[in-house]
């Protein structure tokens, strides 16, 4: 009984330290493989006002589209596959579907479609599922994954016909769908947009100025500061949680990790929506150039959050929400072109690459 009550949900934190000079650094791979990004927040210490280039980069995130009541079989439409999936990269995610209750759909830029279904929906659909890696725990979600570049999934192929019949007649799924395309705009997504009700959205940008912010002393060495406490502190700043509490306070005892200094001013900027990894990459380059030019700041922090209801995590690995399900990563950039990257996932996930 006691052991059950003190059970800790499984969490996984991968910390990487490398340099931009190192040819083998995998930062771009990590950024590119995290397909579905909800929010990016940037913390600039010792900064009073938004630098114009960064401001432009944040406002330059491309818009995304929300299609209402899209029947899922339309994602197998031949025109859509030709114009959007096989040319450029299309990102699509079902919206408003809770990943542990409703069927969820994700479309990835490498041409993979992932359907996360519950038992009844899977039994109705009639398409084989991917083998689960986590066989110790019998989860109740069934993941159907197809790759449009396979020979059987070309239009007219056996697998394609079977999935199409399944989605049209046996299990007519209809979801609200968030979709964006890189590089194109509405032209690539025309086969879908022309037939259904859609609306265009711009990612929303917000900026907050903080004064006298206690900050931990951060260096590029991984051992200097415990990553968990640094991430906790970063999250607290982002959530506007006060870290100036005494240990005897009744309400909260959260403090900034030691050793610490005080920054006279700091800027917290965030953009949220359905964000493209390519643009996040561009933002990272802008942050690097800002850090090179700035005299006061010695580090900059960037945090990228994934969607809670996404059926996939890094590189299309399966994901489920049981205890703590958010995938996110934090990047700390330092003056000497080094960086620390922290990748976090919750229970039942595979280790990020």
């Amino acid at each position: 009984m006691c052991a059950d009550l003190e059970r800790i949900p499984r969490t996984l934190l991968v910390s990487e330290r490398s340099s931009f000079q190192n040819q083998k650094n995998q930062l771009s791979a990590h950024v590119g493989q995290h397909h579905f990004n909800y929010k990016v927040s940037v913390l600039l210490p010792e900064c009073g006002s938004a630098p114009p280039l960064l401001d432009a980069a944040l406002n330059g995130f491309s818009s995304f589209y929300l299609i209402r009541n899209l029947p899922v079989y339309m994602l197998l439409d031949q025109d859509f596959l030709q114009t959007a999936v096989h040319q450029g990269s299309v990102y699509g995610l079902s919206f408003g579907c809770r990943v542990d209750e409703d069927p969820c759909v994700a479309l990835m830029p490498n041409g993979r479609l992932v359907l996360s279904l519950d038992k009844d929906s899977f039994e109705l659909l009639g398409f084989e599922r991917k083998k689960y890696r986590f066989t110790k725990r019998a989860t109740s979600r069934y993941v159907v994954s197809v790759n449009f570049s396979d020979s059987s999934m070309t239009p007219g192929g056996r697998g394609y016909q079977r999935l199409l019949t399944g989605l049209k007649t046996h299990l007519p799924l209809v979801v609200d769908f968030l979709v964006s395309h890189h590089p194109g705009g509405t032209t690539a997504l025309q086969p879908l947009l022309s037939r259904y009700d859609w609306s265009e959205h711009r990612p929303s940008v917000s900026t907050r100025c903080l004064a006298n912010l206690p900050c931990p002393l951060l260096t590029s060495d991984l051992q200097s500061c415990d990553p968990h406490s640094v991430l906790d502190w970063l999250g607290a700043v982002d959530a506007d949680v006060s870290c100036e509490n005494s240990s005897s306070s009744f309400l909260s005892t959260m403090v900034c990790p030691e050793p610490k200094t005080t920054a006279s001013s700091a800027l917290n900027m965030s953009v949220s929506g359905f964000l493209n990894p390519h643009e996040i990459h561009h933002l990272i380059q802008e942050l690097r150039s800002y850090l090179d030019q700035s005299q006061l700041a010695s580090w900059v922090a960037l945090t990228v959050h994934g969607f809670t209801d996404s059926p996939v995590s890094w590189a299309g690995d399966e994901r489920s929400v049981l205890w703590s399900g958010n995938t996110f990563y934090s990047l700390l950039l330092f003056k000497d072109d080094t960086y620390q990257l922290h990748l976090a996932t919750g229970a039942h996930h595979t280790c990020p690459p």
């Binding site: 009844d120 899977f122 039994e123 109705l124 659909l125 009639g126 398409f127 084989e128 599922r129 019949t165 399944g166 007649t169 046996h170």
Partner: protein, 223 residues
């Protein structure tokens, strides 16, 4: 009685009492002969001589006792499973595996079900139809697999050709004979707008035995 007594003359004192006259001997004989001939039935009068010349030969009919005992002990025994498989009694030959051949069977089945449920009208109570269907025979019905734990069975449709204890044998439109296990599948049968779902897990009996079985009412059935 002495024949002579019959042929004597009636005494004279009695002839007055009776009111009859005795005739002479020759006349009496002629009268008796004529009376007998009239009394005897007509056809036997003809065949009389033929019948008398025939001699009926009666053959001995009774059999020996050993054969009789054997017959009473020997009942009609069916074939056992080994013999059935050897003789391929339930095997459908490839030239018979054609969808069109079974369409008349399907029509027969439709008629049978409609008669069983007393005419399937739109106003019929589904409960009543369901109770009848549970005991009905499904040979010849067009069934579809609607849900299954094994995804490759979902969507298969065809006419039910043979029903065994654990398995349905159906023939699809492409003239393919498919064997679908009953377990972990849900089948749908449609007649005249009534769609009935059969849960295979609860249906694993031989067709003949099912008509006598009582089905318990269960809450939800999960595959």
């Amino acid at each position: 009685m002495d024949e002579a007594l019959v042929q004597t003359v009636i005494p004279p004192h009695l002839s007055k009492v009776l009111g009859v006259e005795s005739q002479s001997r020759s006349k009496a004989e002629a009268f008796t002969q004529a009376f007998l001939e009239n009394s005897v039935p007509w056809n036997t009068r003809q065949d009389l001589k033929a019948m008398l010349t025939h001699k009926a030969v009666i053959l001995n009919y009774a059999r020996t006792t050993q054969d009789q005992d054997k017959r009473s002990r020997k009942k009609a025994k069916g074939l056992n499973a080994h013999q059935k498989r050897a003789m391929k009694v339930f095997h459908i030959r490839p030239e018979h595996q054609r969808y069109e051949l079974f369409l008349p069977l399907h029509n027969l089945w439709r008629q049978y079900i409609i008669d069983l449920c007393g005419g399937l009208k739109a106003s019929c109570n589904p409960q009543f139809v369901q109770q009848k269907l549970v005991k009905a025979d499904f040979h010849g019905a067009i069934i579809t697999v609607v849900r299954s734990k094994c995804p490759s069975y979902v969507g298969t449709t065809g006419i039910l050709v043979q029903e065994f204890k654990h398995v349905f044998k159906i023939i699809t439109k492409d003239d393919k004979l498919k064997v679908i296990p009953k377990r972990n599948s849900v089948f749908a049968v449609e007649i005249n707008g009534f769609v009935s779902h059969i849960y295979g897990n609860r249906f694993e009996q031989r067709a003949g035995e099912r008509s006598a079985k009582k089905f318990k009412v269960r809450g939800t059935i999960d595959l």
